[in-house]
C-alpha cells in the first residue's frame, strides 16, 4: 500500500477532561479502503477519539493528521473530505430545506443528490422541506443525516452509531447503500452491534479505557 493513502494518522494522542484521562496514548492509522468497525464499552473514548479526529477537541498530547492536515488548525481542509453522522441526531431548528441549503452552500454537495439518496431510504425530502428538522421522527432524522453524509461522496466517512433509531427495514437499506458506495474511501463505523456490519467492514478496532486494545483485519 502506498504511504500517500493514509487518510487518518493518529500518533500518541492524549486527551484529558478535568484531570481524567479519556484518551491514553492512542495510535491509529486508517488508509483509503479501510472500513473500520470501532467497538468498545460505554465510556471507552470512541466518540472522544472521533471528535479529536474532526478537530472539535484540542488534544493534550500527540499529533493528528487527516488527509495530511491538522484538524484544528486546518479544519476547513479536513472537513472538506469528511462525511459525519453524530451519535445523537442534533435538534437542529433549521427547516429541512434550510439545512439542505446550508449543506449545499458550505460543502458544495447538491441538494438534488441528497434528495436522491433520501429516496433510496424512502424518505421524501420535498414533502418535509418546510418542517423544522427537529420535528422529524427519530428515524427520519437519521435517514436525512445519512443521505447528506453519503451524498457528499467524502473520502472519509465517520458514523457514530448511525442506525440506533432506524427500523429493521431502514437499517437494511442503509447497509445496502453503504455496500454500494462506488468510489474509494475510508470509513469508521462506531457500533455496539458488530454482527450487523459483517461483510461491510474489513477491520475491527476495540477500545477500552481510552486505549486501542485490539486491532484486527478481517
Amino acid at each position: 500500500m502506498k504511504a500517500s493513502t493514509v487518510i487518518v494518522d493518529v500518533e500518541n494522542v492524549r486527551k484529558r477532561f478535568q484531570g481524567a484521562t479519556v484518551l491514553d496514548n492512542v495510535n491509529l492509522q486508517i488508509s483509503l479502503g479501510d472500513r473500520v468497525a470501532m467497538m468498545g464499552p460505554n465510556g471507552a473514548g470512541k466518540t472522544t477519539l472521533v471528535r479529536c479526529i474532526l478537530g472539535f477537541y484540542h488534544i493534550d498530547g500527540g499529533r493528528i493528521r487527516v488527509t495530511g492536515y491538522d484538524p484544528v488548525k486546518e479544519r476547513v481542509e479536513v472537513l472538506k473530505s469528511v462525511g459525519f453522522i453524530p451519535q445523537l441526531p442534533p435538534p437542529v431548528k433549521l427547516t429541512v430545506g434550510e439545512l439542505l441549503r446550508f449543506v449545499e452552500r458550505s460543502s458544495g454537495t447538491s441538494a438534488a443528490a441528497i434528495r436522491k439518496k433520501a429516496e433510496e431510504m424512502e424518505l421524501d425530502v420535498v414533502k418535509h422541506s418546510q418542517k423544522p428538522f427537529f420535528k422529524l421522527s427519530g428515524g427520519m432524522k437519521q435517514k436525512l443525516l445519512i443521505a447528506i453524509a453519503l451524498a457528499r461522496r467524502s473520502r472519509l466517512l465517520v458514523f457514530d452509531e448511525p442506525t440506533a433509531s432506524l427500523d429493521p427495514r431502514a437499517r437494511e437499506h442503509f447497509y445496502e447503500m453503504l455496500q454500494s458506495i462506488d468510489y474509494e474511501h475510508a470509513a469508521i463505523y462506531i457500533t455496539h452491534r458488530a454482527e450487523e456490519l459483517a461483510g461491510l467492514v474489513n477491520r475491527e478496532i476495540y477500545m477500552d479505557l481510552g486505549k486501542v486494545v485490539d486491532d484486527e483485519r478481517i
Binding site: V76, L79, P90, L94, S107
Partner: protein
C-alpha cells in the same frame, strides 16, 4: 465570507421562527415607537425644553429590558446549540470558526437591532404625518445610541457563551452581569459618594465606564441638551466633556466594550474545545 453570510442568514431565519423574537419585537417595537413619538410631540409643543416624565420612564424601561433580552436569548441560543450537539453537527461541515462565530454575531445583531430600528422609523413617519419637522440629526443619533447598546451587550453575551460551557451557568452569569450594571454599580457608587472619601469626579468616571450609563446619559442629552433632569452631575459632565464629546462618547464607548468582549469570545472559541 460567503459562508459568514450563509450562517447569518440561517440564524435570522431561525430567529424569525422563534417566539422570543416576537415578544421582543412587540415589547421594543411598541416601546421605542412610543418613546420616540412622545419625544417628537414634546418637541413640537415645547420646543425641546425639558424632558417629560414619560420619556424618562420609557428610557428606564429600555435600559432595564434591552440588555437582559439580548443577554438571555443570545446565551440561550449559543450555549443551547452546544449542549444539544447542534454545534457539533453544523461544525462538521467545512466552515471556518471565523465564519461561524462572526456569522452568528451578525445574524444576532440584525435580529436584535432591526425591530427597534424599524420602530424608530415608524415613529419618524408618524411624526411627519403630525406635521412636525423631523429632527434628522436626533433620529440618526438615537439610532446610533441603540445600535451601540445592542453591540455592547451582544459582545458580552458572545463572550459569556464561549467562556461558559453549560447553559445554566451561562444564564446565571448573564443575569449577574445585568444586575451588576443595572443596579449594583450605582448603589455602590452612591455609597461611596455619601462617605465622601473619593472625589465626585472619580465616582462619575466610574459610573460612565458602565455602558448602560453611557447610553442613559447620551439618550437624555439628545432630548435635553442641558441635562437638567440629572441635576448637578450634569454640570460636571458638560464642563469636562462638552456636549459634542459626551455624545461621541455615548455612541463609541459601548461599541468598544462590545467589540472587546466579542474578540475575547472569539479568541476563546478558537482556543478551547468546541464541545
Amino acid at each position: 465570507m460567503k459562508n459568514l453570510f450563509l450562517i447569518s442568514y440561517l440564524d435570522i431565519r431561525e430567529s424569525l421562527r422563534s417566539k422570543w423574537f416576537y415578544v421582543y419585537a412587540f415589547v421594543f417595537g411598541g416601546l421605542m415607537g412610543l418613546f420616540f413619538i412622545s419625544g417628537i410631540t414634546d418637541s413640537v409643543v415645547m420646543g425641546f425644553t425639558g424632558l417629560s416624565r414619560l420619556l424618562l420612564v420609557f428610557m428606564q424601561v429600555t435600559i432595564v429590558i434591552l440588555p437582559i433580552f439580548i443577554l438571555i436569548t443570545t446565551v440561550k441560543s449559543i450555549s443551547g446549540d452546544r449542549e444539544s450537539n447542534i454545534l457539533e453537527y453544523m461544525l462538521s461541515f467545512p466552515i471556518s470558526l471565523k465564519e461561524y462565530y462572526w456569522g452568528k454575531f451578525l445574524g444576532r445583531f440584525v435580529t436584535v437591532f432591526f425591530p427597534v430600528f424599524v420602530a424608530l422609523l415608524v415613529g419618524v413617519v408618524w411624526g411627519l404625518f403630525k406635521g412636525g419637522a423631523i429632527p434628522w440629526g436626533m433620529v440618526i443619533l438615537y439610532s446610533l445610541l441603540i445600535l451601540s447598546l445592542c453591540l455592547s451587550f451582544l459582545g458580552v453575551a458572545f463572550f459569556i457563551s464561549t467562556l461558559v460551557k453549560s447553559h445554566d451557568v451561562g444564564l446565571g452569569l448573564s443575569f449577574a452581569v445585568w444586575i451588576l450594571l443595572l443596579a449594583f454599580i450605582d448603589v455602590a457608587l452612591i455609597g461611596l459618594m455619601m462617605q465622601n472619601r473619593v472625589s465626585d469626579g472619580v465616582v462619575i468616571t466610574i459610573a460612565m465606564l458602565n455602558p448602560l450609563e453611557a447610553f442613559r446619559i447620551g439618550a437624555i442629552a439628545l432630548f435635553d441638551p442641558e441635562l437638567t433632569v440629572i441635576g448637578p452631575v450634569a454640570y460636571y459632565l458638560l464642563d469636562t466633556l462638552g456636549h459634542g464629546f459626551l455624545m461621541l462618547y455615548a455612541v463609541v464607548y459601548p461599541i468598544l466594550v462590545g467589540a472587546l468582549f466579542a474578540f475575547f469570545g472569539y479568541a476563546l472559541f478558537r482556543k478551547k474545545d468546541l464541545l
